[in-house]
Symmetry: C2
Subunit: 312 residues, 2 copies
């Protein structure tokens, strides 16, 4: 099996080439988590209405990433697919859980299809609106993000660099984005968010078309984004159980400032826990349902301004 | 196995006796659905702070109904526990799915413990606030409901008589209520709803205490409630897939009037489907996540006024 997995992992080199050349093939993935229905039904819509995602200068392919989990209406079957894409794990033939095999199959397909831009569709129970997750300081992605924000003030950019083990689906493609929309409960469709997500995808495809066809694109000077800083776990009791809830004041306040002394948690007996940090931070993924099993209550970000003009 | 199940199912007779006598033992169940966390954590709170539910005239017992589903953070393991309590199924030893066995065990416990009032704690992704589900026209329950509404105007009474197969956990006890709170995503705690639910439980216990101790209780003349009328399924496409979403206008409008010509669904291509009925109805369980697998988009209710004064 290891022979079959002898791919060329020199992503950085490939990324350099892509930056100078055109985008040939775009992949849109939904259902990487089986209970995040917005992406699942958008992929089905695009299969029914392929003209919506057809552009003249590149090919657009759509995928349902985890069909078994979608069928079961669960995040995953054995383990979180969107933590199975590290190169180390992809190359390890001893890992044979369902999602580990699936990740290897998806990776192979991405390479076979020579995908050079990937969009992964997610949703969250947190009040995160129209979030675009970008992993690094790649100028191509930052310019695209700045363009999208300038076209739609609802779009928020969350930069995750340094926070993760590069084990996400978006990490296996040179250029990629994750769209994370919320708040919406798992397993349902919120029509308003559904259409907003669709429009954001179409804007991205329009951008790629302009880029390929060398149509002049105007960018804002700067891009304001939220940069991952650290994760906050739930307080635990002596037996290891969750000992407090997100404070009512904080519920739904994703991307809003959190300052020293602001309420963070409330214990079951009603006593409060306050934020102790000295700098203003901006929490995200507040009370995300899927993160309870990971004991994560929220992540804290810092606001950052990136100069688009001075990008290489 | 059938010998061990030779219970006396003459619930109506027992109910008559209870009505004339006192409430001796109250059971509170959480986690009948493993991903409805509000009830699960309230039961854990009551185990940590037993004084909150202790009353002088009766004993209060607490139960986590489906520990395996709670552990898995799923609604159920094999099938919906809250559809396993029909007398026919409880008496059928051939039914051996996990939740069918569990239902039989819970039933046995309820009878062994001689529980005569049962509260079952649920939550919903629909915007149903503090809903109290009552199954029938039992004067005891209607008086209690009227009392609770008079104490807290947020409490809404939903009468399900005729809608169901008497297969719910609440159906195995003579006097019982289901508390259904929302909207809250599955698997998380919303602190505001958590405390509101707790206060409602404490109000119910206070009422039972007054009733037992024959303290005079003042009731409103009438009780306004929502009575189940019919279920609305999602429109389906030719392959049997969901063909439309809840219309953005309708999302979150649980208990608000729906009239002929109001928007009901929106298809993925943006075309709308309107309500055709001629009478004003009041939808509930709009876009409830757990009902997607049952193809249920919402239930319609009718508003009804019950005279509390003229109850027997």
């Amino acid at each position: 099996m290891s022979a079959a997995l002898s791919y060329n992992f020199s992503q950085e080199k490939l990324a350099m080439n892509v930056m100078k050349s055109k985008i040939d093939r775009v992949a849109i993935f939904g259902g990487t988590h089986g209970n995040e229905s917005t992406g699942v039904y958008l992929i089905q819509k695009f299969k029914s209405f392929p003209d919506r995602i057809r552009r003249s200068s590149f090919e657009t392919l759509t995928f349902l990433a985890n069909p078994k989990a979608i069928e079961a209406r669960r995040r995953y079957i054995d383990l979180d697919l969107n933590r199975c894409f590290s190169l180390r794990d992809l190359e390890n033939p001893d890992l044979v859980a369902y999602e580990q095999l699936l990740a290897r199959s998806i990776y192979r397909q991405i390479k076979t299809d020579r995908i050079n831009f990937l969009i992964d569709l997610h949703s969250t129970t947190s009040n995160m609106g129209l979030t675009l997750l970008v992993d690094n300081d790649c100028p191509f992605n930052l310019r695209l993000a700045a363009y999208l924000v300038s076209r739609n003030s609802e779009v928020i950019i969350l930069q995750t660099e340094g926070s993760q083990d590069k084990n996400r689906l978006r990490n296996i493609c040179d250029l990629s984005l994750t769209i994370e929309v919320g708040g919406v409960a798992q397993g349902i469709l919120d029509a308003t968010l559904f259409y907003k997500t669709e429009n954001l995808i179409l804007e991205i495809l329009d951008y790629l078309e302009k880029y390929n066809r060398e149509i002049e694109i105007s960018y804002p000077q700067d891009l304001e984004l939220y940069s991952y800083w650290q994760t906050v776990n739930y307080p635990r009791d002596e037996e290891g159980g969750v000992a407090a809830m997100i404070h009512p004041w904080l519920q739904g306040r994703d991307y809003l400032p959190l300052n020293e002394g602001d309420p963070l948690f409330i214990r079951f007996d009603g006593t409060e826990i306050f934020y102790q940090g000295q700098n203003t931070v901006y929490p995200v993924f507040i009370n995300e349902s899927a993160y309870w099993e990971k004991n994560i209550a929220m992540s804290l970000t810092q606001k950052k301004k990136v100069s688009i003009e001075s990008l290489d």
